[in-house]
Symmetry: C2
Subunit: 344 residues, 2 copies
């Protein structure tokens, strides 16, 4: 069995039933929407249904167990004793296990804690995903924006990621022009992009399952002073965070590095989200950089650093890099420029 | 407020906290990865965070309530009394609500029950998604297969769906050639497609959020007799199901219509999954057609009919249509041919 299972066992006080599909993928290299991994001291069982059982049998060091589609019911019948489960488990499936007579111990963040500290092989995948994303953003600056819809540009991104070697999109690309950009998570819509607007582009791809996640904000022609000032504030806020993040800083303090720059500017209070989040097999994972975070950064964490300013009904600006936390500071995986780029 | 909320209220014995994002979308026409809808007799509240609050405020007939990112904690503080919640809620969030002093009633399938019976407007979206998918499969027959990878063909599908007007892919397309096809849910991989193979293509798109979901199995040149026979068995199994499905039949009986054809053939036992599933805002929703189903079909259900035969290490065959259940039988939304098509 691999080293990850060995490291997980050191954290366990009883057998752990892993049901989060990304956690199963991390531990066993096995991808399925219907699976569970039971990690005990002396054995590891991988449960899945007919559709995935062939792949499960190819996983080294685990016993593949065929179940019916209703996998948790079968586990409730088969297992006994004291078993930890992940709090992401739906309540209804918890009930099924409970009614099967198991002594259940809720846990959270155990596998996520391992995942948050990347191994060299994982960093390599992330570097590759970021290299692809650098090339895509570079090529995107040559694409026409004005007069086309946000959705059109989103499709350009899909094509560019494919051409540059991204395996999949890491998430549905955000293209938020003008007022759309002031909604940090608006999807690309049918609004036509106008001249003199700010366009928030938030996109990434996966390599070997590992995600990149960049944001840049382009201008479609000359901007008014408010927009230009806001761009510089976001840029300064991001630089302050990049300069200050290193192992040992808390997620709250990292967030504060950028937030304080914005809150001391005319755009005080306009960063409505956290500074960033861990990045790996999931686009949002541990650790968190935010006012609500309870994390402390460790060497090998990979996080986004993405301050923004959002003026409702007017525009949004966000600048996001992906960085590796090191003992002394960061390794910035993002090469693409942060100068304000004018596109046509 | 809309008719769906009114119909939901008739099913409720206490306020319902809806946390499933697709259920929220169905009831309120609001899309977010972090939201909850509290439906009471006299009011409906839509909770979401900063990123989505502008969109929430545009929803008719609901009170939009801004929360922090940790939305459920805030609900635990704000709400009181007896509240039903959906069993899909993660156990950890259930704990948060419980510790807030709420009297919690677990429920399942309430909104899903409404969603399973489509309104005319929903059927219209599904017909459009299927019309796009018909054109995509038609064009796919002209694409080169042999010597290219499954992933290449999967990308062709993405481009064709985009060109024909699909808004998004309904799911990651499956392209399973030769032995890959014998794994019903294998993703498209880097295996090169050979001549004389069967290629399972399972793909669909969304229109207005509503998903199509087709499967066809193409041949890359002449097949051996076993493969040809298996194709005819799957075709006969599907036709038996299409002929017999109507309102009033159980999900188990519908499944049996196709399964019995396969089980009386030389490929007995080789249909390892259920016959089909409901289709709508989710690609897999109520009702289910399977040996484990507890559903009875109603007029207005939209279901897939997708028998298959899987010979481990050799090939898979699956043929899947999308149909509307009517009092007398079905309306088949899938126009694309089921003849065995040879591609090059």
């Amino acid at each position: 069995m691999n080293d990850r299972i060995a490291r997980l066992r050191e954290l366990l006080e009883q057998p752990l039933l892993v049901t989060d599909p990304t956690n199963v993928r991390y531990l066993a290299g096995f991808e399925s929407s219907n699976c569970a991994l039971l990690v005990e001291d002396d054995r590891v069982r991988l449960f899945t249904d007919f559709r995935y059982i062939q792949a499960a049998r190819e996983v080294d060091g685990v016993e593949a167990v065929l179940t019916k589609r209703d996998l948790i019911s079968e586990l409730a019948d088969e297992l006994s004793g004291r078993v930890a489960f992940e709090r992401v488990l739906p309540y209804g499936l918890y009930e099924v296990l409970r009614d099967g007579g198991l002594e259940l111990v809720p846990t959270s963040g155990t596998v996520e804690k391992l995942r948050a500290v990347k191994e060299e092989g994982e960093l390599e995948q992330l570097r590759r995903a970021c290299a692809v994303t650098d090339r895509v953003f570079e090529r995107l600056t040559g694409v026409p924006f004005v007069g086309r819809t946000e959705r059109d540009v989103s499709w350009d991104l899909a094509q560019l990621f494919h051409e540059e070697g991204g395996e999949d999109l890491a998430f549905e690309s955000i293209v938020g022009a003008g007022p759309t950009g002031s909604r940090p998570h608006a999807r690309a819509g049918n609004r036509k992009i106008g001249a003199g607007e700010l366009v928030v582009i938030d996109a990434g791809c996966t390599i070997g399952g590992y995600a990149s996640d960049y944001t840049r904000t382009f201008a479609t022609g000359p901007l008014d002073n408010e927009a230009k000032d806001a761009y510089q504030v976001v840029l300064r806020a991001q630089q302050a965070a990049l300069d200050g993040i290193r192992a040992g800083i808390s997620g709250v303090a990292a967030d504060g590095l950028a937030r304080s720059v914005i809150d001391e500017s005319p755009f005080a209070g306009k960063l409505g989200h956290g500074l960033g989040h861990g990045l790996g097999l999931d686009v949002h994972e541990a650790p968190r950089l935010s006012t609500e975070s309870s994390d402390v950064l460790e060497p090998g964490n990979v996080v986004t650093v993405e301050p923004g300013v959002y003026l409702e009904g007017k525009f949004g600006i966000r600048i996001e890099d992906d960085v590796v936390v090191t003992p002394e500071g960061i390794e910035n995986l993002t090469g693409f420029t942060k100068d304000l780029i004018e596109v046509s």
